[in-house]
């Protein structure tokens, strides 16, 4: 397994080279010259030229690409072009609120969806199953924005149960600020999660080994929890773990509406201001996190199913 892990980690090298190349090409070809945006509406041509030189944008393209590669491998992203803040500090400050929101919301929504899915699988084809499926589809048909606007207005403003927006660093100070967005996250996630988990569980329920277990007289609950759930774990792990990198990147819409100073907003700002160092940092960070978590999901397969060997 160690060799497998090392090999997978080595994949990071070509992936980072590829990601660096893609973002470099996109930035240079699509986005164009950022100096006019960075200097504001009164920028003079001379000053734009000077800034171009300072940012290294007049260097040969290959030299510029090497700079991108260097920062990808050293994780030294420098300072933001637009805010002039140190990017590593921006990422640290942004990751905390993002994770305060996304981790509890993600854990609760996953556990809740799994419990509901097992329940509806148990009562498959009955009224409760139909009702849950109807609710899932109905819930998924409403846009995230509508949930945000309604919940914020009704629960935070009208009932006053939660803070309308904002964020305080430190536990438990942040709880009133992340509670409502976390609930919205859960509501938004439950529909697709339950539908996926239910399908996976039902696929297992009709397997021969389940029929055998029933024939042996095992209770339905026992079969579900001990046998079906365990065998359904591989697709569930894939589905769950692959979402984790997105937690780190924050929840853009929720962060914006609830003024949570997370990474989602930092990325959006960077895109709107041609802030290449921040865009680069976010793209590289996401690639690394994605690869690490896909490796973690591979490792988890071996625990879920001993037949899986990592070679």
């Amino acid at each position: 397994m160690t060799r497998y892990i090392i090999r997978r980690l080595l994949y990071l090298i070509p992936v980072l080279l590829g990601v660096s190349l893609i973002i470099f090409v996109l930035f240079n070809v699509v986005a164009g010259d950022p100096t006019a945006v960075l200097l504001g509406k009164n920028a003079t041509p001379r000053q734009m030229q000077e800034l171009r030189e300072q940012l290294g944008l007049n260097k040969p393209l290959f030299a510029q690409y090497l700079d991108v590669v260097r920062s990808a491998f050293t994780f030294d992203f420098g300072r933001s072009w637009s805010s002039k803040q140190e990017i590593s500090q921006m990422l640290r400050q942004g990751a905390y609120p993002s994770l305060c929101l996304t981790i509890p919301a993600f854990v609760i929504s996953t556990v809740l969806s799994l419990v509901i899915s097992l329940g509806v699988a148990f009562y498959r084809g009955k009224g409760i199953d139909l009702f849950v499926r109807f609710c899932c589809i109905a819930g998924m048909s409403v846009s995230a924005l509508a949930y945000i606007l309604f919940f914020q207005y009704f629960f935070a403003f009208k009932l006053g149960w939660f803070e309308i927006s904002g964020f305080e660093f430190g536990f438990p100070d942040f709880v009133p600020f992340i509670a409502l967005p976390a609930i919205i996250w859960i509501v938004l996630s439950i529909g697709p999660d339950v539908r996926f988990f239910r399908t996976v569980i039902l696929d297992e329920i009709y397997q021969d080994y389940v029929r055998t277990a029933r024939a042996k007289g095992l209770s339905e609950m026992h079969i579900l929890l001990k046998h079906v759930l365990r065998n359904a774990m591989i697709p569930i792990i894939t589905y769950v773990v692959i979402q984790i990198p997105f937690l780190i990147l924050g929840a853009l819409l929720l962060e914006n509406f609830f003024s949570i100073p997370g990474l989602g907003g930092i990325t959006l700002n960077a895109l709107n201001s041609s802030d290449f160092p921040v865009i680069k940092a976010m793209a590289i960070l996401s690639s690394v996190v994605y690869i690490v978590f896909s490796l973690i999901s591979d490792i988890l397969y071996t625990f879920a199913d001993p037949r899986v060997k990592l070679k």
Binding site: A36, A43, V175, P261
Partner: protein
Amino acid sequence: MKSLMPVLVGLVLLTIGCSKERNFDERELHLISPEKIAGFDPIHGSDLYSANEMGKVYEGLYEFHPFKRPYELVPNLAESLPNVSADGLTYTFVVKKGVLFRDSPVFKDGLGRELSADDVLYTLKRLADPKLQAKGWWLLDDRILGLNEWREKNAPLEASNYDEVIEGLKKIDGYTLQIKLKKPYPQFLYALAMNYTFIVAKEAVEHYGKEFLNYPVGTGPFLLDKFEQSNKIVYIKNPKFREKLFPSEGEEGDEKQGLFADAGKKIPLVDKIIVDIQVESQPKWLLFHKAKADLLEIPKDNFDQAVVGGADLAPELKGKGIRLIKNPMLDVTFFAFNHEDPLFKNVKLRQAMSLAWDRGEANKLFYNNTAIEAQSVIPPGLGGYRKEFKNPFVKLDLELAKKLLAEAGYPNGKGLPEITIQTRNDTISRNTIEHFSKCMNKIGVKVKIGVNTWPELVNKVTKKQHQMYTMAWGADYPDAENFLGLLFCPNQSPGSNGSNYCNPAFDELFRQSTILQDTPERSAFYEKMNEMVALDVPWIFGFNRTKFYLSHAWLKNFKYSEYTHTQFQYLNVDLEVKKELSKKF
């Protein structure tokens, strides 16, 4: 579901338990900034919202009077208005004595030292420092004797040499300095009221280095207590702020509105300012209606809930003591032609398109019928704007538009290629072009929309890769020169003249007028230029917009200003009224 209830109840209880009670003991001002704040380095704050934050901790030599209109410059850190030589080239300033920088570890023993003429000279040099690429450099570019040369000389060096004496920046004594200009620059004093020239301490810049933007050390009325770039900024009153008194003069009617109730009192009047960064409309609106914000620029989405008939406050809000404040902005919106495109050299085509746009409908659709149709480039409120002047091409006249289009060589649009208008990718910008396109269709002109992110749009304009684009321009300072310069040929792309309009007669008048002091003669020049370009239709003139604010009854002394960055020190909170009225929210 039963097992979920205790969790939900627990969460709500924890939430309520951790929520903060309203503070009625301290004079706290709760404000909202709709933009994230990059930092506190004055030379880099190019937007209104950054300037607002910097103005709480830093100060300039001058400021705009908080109540007088038209805007009037008054001394702030300067003792008085400068002594200007007869040729308008030499300015002598005296800085106030006894002004202290805030206490900070950057100073000896941590105690703020006294402001001196050296600080002003250092600040101006810093704005010119080629290593810093300040966003406000344009204010001094090619204006002060020897400054551009100093900038060029220092560009290739490792670090700029601030000790070098510059011919145009001279210290006379500890409190007096002299600035020599290359040519008359009547707008120079406005530059000294803008955030770019807020006075900074050399020790702080050197001590904090690149982190200086997070640790402001100024002479301002407030001290930065907490800075979370995209969440919250908290300020507390500067206990060592100098003796600055609330003014007792303003416009007619100000007294009636109770604006001078604090006249003669030492400012700042509030103990603390809490600025919430709120980008989206709904939370802003809800926070105001929960009395968690004292002042609100009405979001477009909520306009109809707040304002009835485009003019009056909704009765429900009146009942809560809320006030409506509305004021025309010093700005202009426009559709600019790229005059380097041979198509738009045809003035009749430009005039025809201007006549085909239904501004009345656009005003209703996009500005709740509150904007003023712009007759030309100068907005109302500035010298050069003449109320009686009506641009003959700023009206809806489809027959005349068709006639002019035919005379332009495109009868019913035949032979005219499709025109692409570049705009931003937000809904309002897209809808505006769609509406414009619908209007142009009526005379046979086909218009296509080019949707861009802000950087893409700026790039296309600066590289002249556009046929037309739409934008708005707000006054950097209250002088029409700031608007007329947008059509001055030497400013063409990548400069601020994105339409690349060149009119030698206009350029000549611009050159002559902008070196004149604010006199009737200069206003006459401005009027002439304004009316000249109106007929030439270099842009399709849009609107001069109106800003609408809601203010709670307990917020005192707020008067709309285009230059708000020094305004907050004059605001006050009536705690008794707040305590009483807060029950209604």
